[in-house]
Structure formats: C-alpha cells, structure tokens
C-alpha cells in the first residue's frame, strides 16, 4: 500500500502532455509510474469519448479526476481507512461523502490556482517549467485546503462564507462601508477569527466560492503575521484574467480588514491615512467582536443546552454560522460526548450526507460546470416528494438537519435527548437565532 490510511495526495499535471506540475499532501509521494498510470487511464478514456470521473476501492479509498480548462488535470487520491478489511462484500465507509469532499477540494484548488496566477497562464501553458515555478506560490493556500484542519471553517465545503455575527453589527458595517469607499473600492470586508464579521454589499455579490477563497487567503496572509500587505488576486469567476489588488491591514490580532481595489490607493497611503481614521474609534467594538470568539453568535442569542454543534446556512446570502460547544456540565453516566475535533468532523460529514442525498444545493454553477461535475448523479432528483428534514442516530450522537426556503440547519445533539425531541430542538434553535440576529 503506497498511501497511508486516510492520507490524501493531490496530483497536478498538464492535461495535454501529462507533465507533472506538482504533488502535494501525503508525506510519501506516489511513485511516478502510478502518477503516470492515473493520468494515463483518464487520457485514454478521453480519447475514446469516455470521461472517467471517480473511482472507489474497498476500505474507502477514492480517486477523483478532473480536468480544468482543458489544460490542467487535477487528481486527488485518498487512501482507504483501515485498509482492505472491508473486503469485497462490505461497503466502503461513507464513500459518497468522501467523494464529494474530494470533488470540492479539486474545485477549490483550481480556483485557488486561478486566484493566484490568473486563468490565462493556466489555460495556455507555454512554458511548463515557468508554470511549475509560479505554482509554488499557491502551495501555502493549497496545503491549507488539503489539511483542512482549521476548526470552525466549513466554507471550503459548503461554499458559503463562514461568518461571525458581531454583537453590534451596524457600527462595524458602517465602518467597513466608509473605509472601502475612501479606498476607492466597493469591495471591503472585516474578518475576525478568520470569519467574516462585516462586509460591503458588493462583497457579498462576489461569487460564493470567491468569497470563501478570499477568506482563506486572508487567513493565510494574516497567519504570516505581517501588519499589512498588498496582494494581487484574480477572481476565478469575476475577473479570471485581470488582477485586482487585495489590501489587507491587521487592526488587532485576530481582526483584519481588507479591500479589493484598483491601482490606487497605495498601500502606504491607505495604511497611514485611512486605517487609523476609520478604525481607531472602533477598537472597543472590535474587542467585543473578538470576544465572541469561536461561538460566532453574539451573547444575546441563547442556545438550548442540548445543542452540541451547529451549522446554519442562509441559502439566500450564502453565509453560514457554525459552532461547536464545549460541554461544561456533562452528567456522569451518560455516554461520553464526542470530542470537539470529532464534532467538527461529524458536522462536516453530516452536512455532506444530507446535501448529497436529500437537500439539493442550488448553486450558481454554470451548465458546463454541472456537466463537468457529473459525479453526483443527483440521488436527490429521484425523490418524487420534497425532503424537508432528516436525522441520524449513531453511536456517538444524534444529528438533525432541516431545510426551509431560506435556511439550512444542521445540528449535533447528545444521545441523551430523545429522538422525538430532535425536531423541536432544531426548530427552536433556528427561530432563536433568526429572531435574535436577523441572519
């Protein structure tokens, strides 16, 4: 077995010639012969009018292929878990979920390459060696996507912007609007703890995928520790060929503001002139906002005690709020609650489980995009009636998902809560949050 259990490797090759551009992930790189074969089978199929999209092995191993712009081939290989034990008769573990995750990953990696390098350079490869060199600048972001270890960040999966609902949104909103305006830009955004706390209206009009990607970029930039930076970005949907400038300023540790702008203003002018003017009066507000922390919801929202974790998506604005609570008073004798990391994992899995089977994701996918995606054979479409809610009871906890025209809510609830009450917990949680925050 060449891949470790559960490890993931990403291969990038040129689609036409099969030259490897880079591989990321898994500590041990796959042998070149395997990379060549993986690319070869896809190319061979392409020549015969057959597009190979994915492949599954016993024990949950997965391979997903995808060609972007007829120029770049991305292959994700994920190792099985527990290896071989499943045998032929046994179904792989949550294979469908894994597949969707990998599909998402490939899309995100491609967008991220476009974001950094622009579509032109990727679509028309003239100098492979140069492209290889240039692609190195994406590695930070790509590795972040591959590891996907940041707790509380689900946007890569949901394509909904991870948001943080500040206690006093109006003040921050106004500040962001004014700040962006003064920087000759319509696109401005305040990011707290890696999540969007406030953004201009135009920012929300960007494609959801771009918003998510920009947030990811901001996170990796602010992780570098610099106080400010000026970074050229291409917008994968909005302007894949013309670069904009992303100006980022650290306001407080954990709080960053950014604008997307044209040639002006210079980083220096913006930093020295604008940041202080607009944000110094709001330091206290920002501190309050930082204090919200992982909870993402202002203190005014009181959650029922029997909610372990939650993911709430606003389907119209494509924003999401998610949180995992650390249990404080857990009665002895009850089955142990899953750990925090496991809760995030379960939340993601349950999200994929529900959306692949029951809740359709109305995404702004182009027709071509959808055809390319082809993988998910829309099990959802097979239903003659509309699924509204679903729940799962497993050994660890109970999960409940519900969908309304405006929201999708996914909850993890301890086993001690009777199944009959799940629905009440969910509806009440939804109404509590929406009533208190107008999310």
């Amino acid at each position: 077995m060449m891949l470790q259990d559960g490890s993931l490797q990403l291969l990038c090759l040129t689609a036409s010639s099969g030259v490897p551009l880079f591989t990321r992930g898994a500590s041990k790189q796959l042998p070149f012969s395997v990379i060549g074969s993986l690319n070869g089978v896809h190319m061979f199929g392409g020549g015969q009018g057959v597009v190979l999209t994915c492949c599954e092995t016993a024990g949950g191993g997965k391979v997903v292929w995808r060609v972007f712009q007829d120029s770049v081939m991305l292959i994700a290989v994920s190792g099985g878990r527990g290896g071989g034990g499943g045998g032929q008769g046994g179904a792989g573990s949550s294979s469908k979920e894994e597949e969707v995750r990998l599909q998402r990953l490939l899309e995100n990696v491609w967008s991220c390459m476009v974001l950094v390098l622009g579509q032109d350079e990727l679509a028309n490869v003239r100098n492979v060696e140069r492209l290889k060199r240039d692609l190195r600048s994406c590695f930070g972001l790509i590795d972040q996507l591959l590891e996907d270890r940041q707790e509380g960040i689900l946007g890569n999966l949901t394509h909904c912007a991870d948001s943080l609902l500040p206690p006093n949104p109006a003040l921050l909103q106004e500040a962001v609007e004014n700040f962006a305006q003064s920087a000759d830009s319509e696109f401005g955004c305040l990011i707290v703890h890696g999540k969007i706390a406030a953004a201009t209206e135009k920012w929300w009009r960007l494609a959801p995928q771009e918003v998510v990607l920009l947030s990811a970029l901001m996170r990796s930039l602010s992780a570098s520790g610099s106080a400010s930076c000026d970074y050229p970005v291409f917008l994968p949907q909005g302007s894949p060929t013309v670069a904009h400038r992303l100006l980022r300023f650290q306001l407080l540790p954990g709080a960053d503001v950014c604008v997307l702008c044209g040639p002006t203003p210079s980083l220096h002018r913006a930093e020295s002139g604008l940041v202080c003017r607009f944000w110094s009066p709001l330091v206290e507000t920002l501190r309050d906002c930082l204090a919200v922390g992982d909870r993402c919801l202002p203190g005014s929202v009181s959650l029922r005690p029997d909610v372990l974790a939650l993911l709430l998506i606003n389907r119209e604005t494509r924003r999401s709020v998610s949180l995992v609570r650390t249990s404080t008073n857990h009665p002895l004798g009850d089955p142990p609650l899953p750990s925090k990391a496991r809760c995030w994992e379960l939340l993601k899995l349950f999200y994929i489980f529900s959306t692949t089977r029951y809740f359709s994701q109305e995404e702004t996918l182009g027709l071509e995009e959808r055809a390319q995606r082809g993988n998910t054979e829309d099990f959802v479409l097979g239903f003659s009636h509309q699924p509204l809610q679903c729940y799962l009871v497993t050994d660890e906890c109970k999960s409940f998902g519900l969908q309304t025209p405006q929201h999708q809510l996914f909850l993890l609830i301890p086993l001690s809560v009777p199944t009959l009450a799940l629905r009440t917990v969910a509806t009440q949680t939804l109404s509590d949050i929406t009533a208190a925050t107008a999310f």
Binding site: V51, G59, S78, G90, S94, E377, V393, D395, T424
Partner: protein
C-alpha cells in the same frame, strides 16, 4: 386480381392463400386438416410421459414453463403471429386474428392431427418447436448451424445502426426495422406470385404500377419506384409505426433499391438483423415521434402475454435488447493475465454482453478497468469497487468483482442504479451466478455457457433498465424502479403471514413431503439407495413466501435464482399452468462452510440440485442433495419424474388451502394502512369518504359500539374523518404541525400554545398518546416497552372499503379488538402509510401485500410508495456502510479520527408532498408531510425496519417494529 385484393386488405392478407386452397371456410379444424399430412405421433402419443420431458437439456437442466389455459390462448394469438406485438393500426376481429394465428402455426410446425381442437395442445407443440430451436446449442446442437450464433452477435455486423427514425431532409426519412428471415419458415408463404420478400419479410405491399390502374400518381409516373401501397399486419413494417402508405422506399442500408433489385437486396439478409430503410415521404416526419421507439411501443395495445414470459420462453431477446441498445450498459469478464506469447485480438475478453453500440464504447475502454483494478490495490490497499464514467450525457457506474485472475465488470446507467446501491446489485448477480455455476470462472469460461449467459444477462439488464416492458402485459402502474432495487436487494424474501391453522397445515404438508416417504414410489420400496436427500423446501404463493424449511442462506440462494428469472411475479400475475425447473446448484453456504463449521461435523460433500415446480399460483422450491447419504450423482442427471410428481402432488394437496390463503390476502390490511390521499384536503375524496361513512350501516354501528365501550366524552371525534377535519396539522401543513410538535415534546404538560381552541381536545388526546411512548425512553430504549403493545384502547379510523368482509367474518366486538391490536401507529388516527420489516436471521421480510396497496388506490399514494422506496435505498446504504465498521471497531477502534459518520442506528427523513397540478390560483396548494424512517435493531433479534407515516403523530420506530414483529411470529 383476387390475389391483389387480398393483399390489399390487410386483415385478410395472409388468409388469401388459404382461401384459394380450402375455399372460404375459416375454421380451425379445416386449417389443421389441410396440413396434417406429416403428423408425428411422438409428441403426444404417450400421455403418461410428462410434457416437459422433451425440454430437458443435455446437461440435465430443465426450464419448462406452461401457462394455464386462459393465458395460453392469449399467448397463442401473440406468440404465433410472428412476434406478436399487436398494434392499433390493424383492426382484427377475433375470428380473423385467430385464423392468422392458426395458419402461422401451421406454417411453422407443419404437423397437426385432425380433430385435435384444443389450442392447448397446439401451443405445446408450438412451444416445443420454438424451444428446441432456441436451445439448439444445448439440446439438438448443430441441427441448424446457420442460426447457432447468439442473437447478440448479429448486431456486431451493424456498428452504425441507429434507433428509430431520424429526419434527414425534409423528404427523406430513415426507419430502422428488425427483420428476421428465419421467421419466414422456409416453405411458408408462396413467394412467387405475391410481393416476394418485400411483403413476406418486411411487410410492405407494393403493386407494380402497370397493374395498378387507380394507384397513386407517384407510382404511375415512375415505374420502378417502390411505393408503399399497403402494410401487412404484424409485420416489421407496421410495427415500427413509421412507414406510411404512400411512402417510397429508396434505399435499404444505404443501398439504392428499385422494384428490380429489391428482391435481390432483401435476399442478401442472412439472419435476424436490423436494417435501415430510407423512405421518400410525402410529408415530413413529425419530429416528436422521431427516435422514440420506446414510446411508440408503449402506446400500442398491451399484449396479453407479457414480454417477460416470452423472454423466459427464449423468444425475441435480440429485439428486446435492441430497444435498450442506446443506453450504455455492459457486462464483461476480463482476464487479468497477460499472455503475450500468443497475442490475439480481444483475447482478454472471456465473456461480453451485449454487443451494441453503446456498450462497444464501454468495451473500448476496458483497458481502464484492467489498469485501475491492477493499480489501485497497491495504492489504496483495497480492491476496486466501482468507478463512474461519463459517456456523453450518460453517467455510467461500473461495478467490479475480482475473482482469482479474472475481473467481472458490470456497467449500468446511473439513472437506473444509484451508486449507493451498485454494490448490492453486483453482489447479487455474482451470488446468483455462483449459485448456478459454482464459481464465476466456471460460469464464464465454458464456451457452451455463452448462450445461457446471454439469456441470463438479457434478463438482468431488461429488469433493471426497462422493467416496464417486461411487465407491459398487465395494467401495472409505472414500475417502481427504486422499489424493485430495494426489495430485491434486501437479503430476505417477502413473507406472508398466514392464520395459524393454515400455517400449520402448510407446514405439515411440506414436512410430509420432505420426509421423502413416497410410499411405493420411493426408492426404499425397491430396496435402492435414495437418489436424493431432500434438504428442505420452501413454498411460495403468488410471490409471497408462505413456508420455509430451508436454512437462511439456502433460502436466499434459491430466492436469488427465482428473482433473477422473475418467477415470483410470474406466479402472482399469471396463472402458471405448469412450471418445472431443474438444475444443479451450488448453495453458497454449503460450498464455503468446509472450514468454518463446528468441529467434528463436516458438511457432506454432495452435489445439490434445485427443483422448482409451479402449479397455478403455488410454487415450491426443493433443494436436493445427491451424495452424502444418498447415492452419488454421476454425469448430469435430469429431473426425476418421481420427485417432480411428488412435488406436484404436494402442491395439489395444498390447493385446498388456496381459499384460505386468498382470504388472508383479501382480508383488511393488518396492520391497517392509510392512503396518503386521505390526508390531503381534496374535496372530492373527502366527499366520497363522507358519503361512504354515512351510508354504511356497519360503520355507524361500529361507532355505536365504540361509544359504548370507550368513554363517551371521546366518542364525538372518534372517526378519522371528523378528527382529521378538526386537527390543525391537516389543513395548515408545515407550520401547524411544527407548533404541535413543540408542544408535544417540550414538556408534554401544557396545552400547545399554537393550537386553535377548537382543536384542543383532539390534540390533547394526541399528547396523551405521545407521553405514553415517551415513557419508553425515546427510540433509543431497547425493548422494555411491552406494556405499550396494547397501549391504546381507542378506536382508530377503520378503512371503510373493507367493512363488507368484516361484517361477514367478525362480530363487532372482535372487529374492535382486531383494530386495537393491529394498529401500528399511536394516536387517534391511523397514520401508517407503508412499512417494510426485515428479519435478518430468518431472511424474510414483511410489507403490505400488493393487494393491500392496490386497494388503497389514490393518486398520491403510489407516488409516496415510490418515494418511500427511494428513500429506503439511501437509508439502507447508510446502515450498510456502518456495518463493516461495527465489526472492525471491536478489533481496533480508530483513534480520534473516527469512522465516517459511525454506525447508523436510525435514520429518518421528512417529506412534503403536494397534490399534482393544483389549479386553484387563490389558495396555495395543500401540503402533507410524512416521515420515512429506517431503524436497525440488534436486540432481541436483528431486524431492519422501514416505515412511512404521517407527520401528525410522533412515532417511535422501535416500538412500531416491536408491535409489528409480533405479527411475524413464525
């Protein structure tokens, strides 16, 4: 001129010749007489010989199917008239149709005795002929070498074939028809004086224009043009539905034809094949009808004999297969061994089916399958299971099964088989093949198995891809693909619970048979060693298992075989005159258990044979063992008459119980079911129910009785109709029911705030009921809910349609009792729509019978059931994926990371439905919400339970399963 006229009138076209010979008499006997010259007595001179004797093949296998008389007559009209799909285009009178039938029959079999009036006899001969020609390879191999090639390979010659019709230009249209020169039957129609092959083969009547005086002008102006002047009934030309009178045939397979060369061109067609005809047409073809052969077929009058029976008889596989030729699907058995010493083309393909265009594309990329299979095992450490491919617009899932050095690859269209369920489908096929042949290698690697495998996979694909065509003989609702997938995929057989006295009797009769005490027919009587030991048998009645004396795994093996050959629906939908199947089988449990059984015990190494005998609606499957205690079998023994007769005798003995079983089937559903439509406030249905309720004296009496027994305060709203109207969740749909839900589970103490005052009593009662069920600790509680079994003494809503039978059989008191115990849901009303309960240990499941479902009728209900089944696919897949995890967890619990979602115990989905085509603009469409819940129980016995009920009452699936399994006591 008389001949020409006869040809013109399509009804009498074929009887024209007859008229000249015999005069104007259209009589069966006369027809027979005219050709009775060469009658061979062997067919039925000896009535003691069983009818199926001639059908036994060289390897001892037998598949003999005879419909009962009623069905048989219908079959004759179909089967004999060439391919038998009658069309709307031709108006047959009963009599004339019969004449054609008789004549064709005569043409084919050519032997008939005088004064043998029964159609049945004829059919038998006919079928025997047909059968022997189909089974050439096995029985009388090489008799007719030219037709030996399996039908599928014919298509190989036609890589460019197209389905249906395409409009080329305005004036030209292309029509693909399926021609079979073999059907001409050599001597049949006198070709010389009639329209020749054009008429005989294609069914196009063309009169040379010189003779035609009043023909259409097109024919007159150009002599050599082949204008269609008429069409012969039941010919390929008329069946395709695209050829119109007045069209001009200009080309056959792109070869220009005229009246001069047409006969030569047509005579070049060697065997059954599809040809493309190009017509010049007066009017452009309606684009809507182009290219839709399938839909065209559907509009035709449904033939009384289903395609299924004809497929089982071995007819027509090529034609059926062709109709799905455009849908990519394939099965291949590939060798992973590279033998480069003798490179031959396509050497690695050990078996392949079918040979059509779409599948050739999949065949072309077999390199992918081989490479992936070889490589991925090294990369991820697991065998490849599946891969997904896009062929143009079609998404195809490919399932793999590796056995030693060979690889079975099955490609299926995604819209038929979701990836979630692909593995189950592939696994079942593999198991069926193993049961039939012992191993995949022995199934695929013997050359003489090829025709049988073709038949096997033809059935397989037909059932998956176009089940509607197989069943189109019946006025069946649109087939429920998910339902078939789900129910067939369950490792269990559909069980019918019988009243104890009948059950005991059935078991006794079966046990008597299994004791092999055949009296003077038995081997013991003659002092011989037994030929076979009867390992056990199971009995089906109309596709329901009613008794099983087989171990579970054997039962599943037998059932897989029956399912694959559609024997179960066959017995339920048509009366089977006689069915005898005999073949060697390799029960999986017995084959694999050599190492795993208890010490000191070893399975006897014997050979096993499966004997299936069907008589009318009964079907008994017997598993026999040779070797071991019985004398070892040598060679390939055929069915033994004694055993077959004994099974028949058993079935005849059981027939006296048929009335009792029928009564059970006709009895009201237990547990009671509700129809989804009743819950939607559509005025029409409501009125009907109301009137029924008010007009039925029994119902009102019942109400009286209930009022008497239960507290009078509740009597007012006892009936579903009334309760329904007053309960808020019916009319308000979602929000209303949520509010109610809140109240119910919040604390269960106070009256719900969201409820309107007038409905309070009703919902308060519901709350009461729910509190009961909450008492058991939610659905998590395992067992311990025995007290709840009879939890409600309330009357539920009786189904008004069954009161007639009730009145006859039960007193009112009993009726009431019965309802109380058989109602599955809690709360005042019966909210149960559908359920499936699978008992894993015994390998059986129960679900409402087809009849129970049919009686509910309604327009939404069938939809709901389809939806239920589709959802069950997903639920079961969730259960399945957690199963291996459960096994593994004990060994090494994954640290931290965990295992996907983990083992799923219970999974539910809430659906909302609206009536279709809601026209009222002023009001929003009413909605109805219902749960589909699946629950896996490990205690006390492993069960899987799937249930579908209305949203108004929260249910605890564990309890429902518990209540239901009480009725399942075996």
């Amino acid at each position: 001129m008389a001949v020409a006229d006869a040809r013109y009138g399509s009804d009498t076209a074929l009887s024209g010749g007859q008229t000249e010979e015999d005069g104007a008499e259209h009589d069966n006997i006369r027809d027979c007489e005219s050709t009775s010259s060469s009658f061979s007595c062997s067919d039925y001179s000896d009535d003691l010989e069983p009818e199926w004797l001639d059908d036994i093949q060289k390897n001892g296998e037998l598949f003999y199917l005879e419909l009962s008389e009623g069905e048989e007559e219908a079959a004759l009209a179909q089967a004999a008239a060439n391919q038998g799909v009658s069309t709307n285009h031709v108006r047959f009178s009963e009599k004339e149709a019969e004449i054609i039938t008789e004549q064709n029959k005569k043409q084919r079999c050519g032997s008939r005795t005088k004064g043998e009036p029964t159609l049945k006899r004829l059919a038998r001969i006919l079928r025997r002929k047909r059968w022997s020609s189909q089974r050439r390879g096995g029985k009388d191999g090489g008799k007719d070498s030219s037709t030996l090639s399996p039908p599928a390979s014919i298509l190989k010659n036609q890589p460019g074939q197209r389905q249906g019709v395409t409009v080329q230009q305005q004036q030209l249209k292309e029509v693909c028809v399926y021609l079979n020169p073999k059907r001409l039957g050599g001597s049949s129609t006198p070709l010389s004086n009639s329209g020749g092959l054009l008429e005989a083969l294609l069914g196009v009547v063309h009169r040379p224009s010189r003779i035609t005086r009043q023909g259409d002008p097109a024919g007159l102006t150009q002599e050599e043009r082949l204008t269609v002047h008429g069409l012969i009934p039941n010919s390929p030309a008329i069946k395709c539905g695209q050829i119109l009178i007045g069209d001009v045939l200009v080309a056959v397979d792109d070869v220009d034809v005229t009246s001069e060369n047409i006969e030569r061109v047509l005579s070049c067609i060697p065997g059954p094949t599809q040809v493309m005809l190009t017509f010049q047409t007066a009017a452009p073809v309606d684009a809507g009808t182009a290219g839709e052969t399938l839909s065209v077929r559907k509009t035709k009058a449904s033939p009384p004999v289903s395609q299924l029976v004809r497929l089982l008889w071995g007819e027509d596989t090529a034609e059926l297969q062709m109709s799905i030729g455009h849908i990519p699907h394939i099965v291949m058995y590939l060798s992973l061994k590279l033998d480069s010493a003798s490179p031959q083309e396509e050497e690695e393909i050990l078996y392949q089916y079918p040979m059509c265009e779409a599948s050739s594309q999949l065949k072309g990329v077999r390199g992918i399958f081989l490479t992936l299979c070889d490589m991925l095992e090294n990369v991820t450490g697991g065998q490849i299971i599946s891969s997904s491919l896009l062929l143009g617009k079609h998404l195809v899932h490919v399932g793999y099964w590796k056995e030693s050095n060979n690889l079975l690859v099955i490609g299926l269209p995604a819209e038929r088989v979701p990836l979630l369920y692909l593995q189950t489908v592939v696994g079942d096929v593999v198991r069926t093949l193993k049961v039939m042949y012992g191993s995949l290698d022995s199934a695929f690697c013997k050359a003489d198995h090829a025709p049988r495998l073709d038949h096997f996979f033809c059935l397989f694909f037909q059932q998956l891809i176009q089940p509607s065509r197989l069943r189109d003989g019946f006025s069946a609702p649109p087939p429920d693909v998910s339902g078939t997938l789900f129910l067939d995929g369950l490792p269990a057989v559909r069980w019918l619970t019988l009243p104890p006295e009948i059950k005991v009797e059935v078991d006794t009769v079966l046990s008597d048979f299994e004791s092999s005490d055949f009296g003077e027919m038995s081997e013991d009587f003659f002092g011989l060693r037994r030929l076979y030991v009867i390992l056990g048998s199971c009995l089906f009645y109309k596709s329901y298992l009613i008794a099983n004396h087989l171990p579970k795994e054997d039962l599943l093996d037998v059932c897989l075989y029956c399912q694959h050959y559609c024997l179960l629906p066959l017995a339920s939908e048509q009366r089977v005159g006689q069915l005898v199947i005999w073949r060697e089988v390799f029960p999986q449990q017995r084959a694999n258990s050599s190492s795993s059984t208890a010490p000191g015990f070893s399975q006897p190494q014997g050979r096993h044979f499966l004997l299936i005998v069907g008589l009318r609606h009964f079907m008994q499957c017997v598993l026999l063992e040779a070797g071991g205690c019985a004398s070892p079998a040598s060679g390939s023994p055929g069915p033994d008459c004694v055993y077959v007769d004994q099974v028949k005798a058993t079935l005849l003995q059981l027939e006296v119980l048929e009335a009792g079983i029928e009564e059970r089937l006709n009895a009201p559903a237990a547990p009671c079911l509700s129809c989804a439509d009743w819950f939607l406030p559509s005025s029409a249905a409501r009125d009907r129910l109301d009137s029924l309720a008010s007009s039925s004296p029994v119902l009102s009496k019942l109400a009286e009785a209930v009022k008497g027994s239960s507290s009078g305060a509740r009597g007012r709203s006892l009936f579903g109709e009334k309760a329904r109207r007053s309960s808020p969740q019916r009319s308000l749909s979602d929000s209303g029911s949520e509010g109610q839900m809140d109240a119910g589970s919040g604390s269960g103490s106070s009256v719900a705030p969201g409820l309107s005052p007038h409905s309070t009593p009703d919902s308060a009662r519901k709350l009461g009921g729910r509190r009961d069920s909450l008492g058991s600790g939610g659905s998590d509680g395992s067992g311990g809910s025995g007290g709840l079994f009879k939890m409600t003494s309330r009357m539920k809503h009786p189904n008004p349609f069954y009161l007639g039978t009730l009145k006859k059989t039960l007193t009112e008191k009993e009726t009431e009792e019965m309802y109380n115990t058989l109602k599955l849901t809690s709360g005042a009303e019966n909210t149960l729509f559908h359920y499936v309960l699978m008992e894993t240990v015994q390998g059986i499941f129960i679900a409402p019978t087809h009849r129970e479902v049919a009686q509910l009728s309604g327009s939404i209900h069938p939809q709901l059931i389809r939806n239920f089944h589709h959802c069950c696919l997903s639920i079961r897949a969730a259960f399945q994926q957690s199963l291996p995890a459960r096994g593994r967890r004990t060994a090494d619990r994954p640290q931290g990371g965990g295992w996907g979602l983990g083992p799923v115990k219970e999974h539910g989905v809430l659906f909302q439905c609206k009536p279709e085509n809601w026209t009222d603009q002023r009001k929003p469409a009413p909605t109805m919400t219902y749960w589909v819940i699946g629950r896996m129980l490990l205690e006390p016995v492993p069960q899987e339970f799937y249930v579908c009920f209305h949203d108004s009452v929260a249910e605890v699936p564990v309890e429902m399963a518990f209540r239901l399994s009480f009725g399942l006591a075996l």
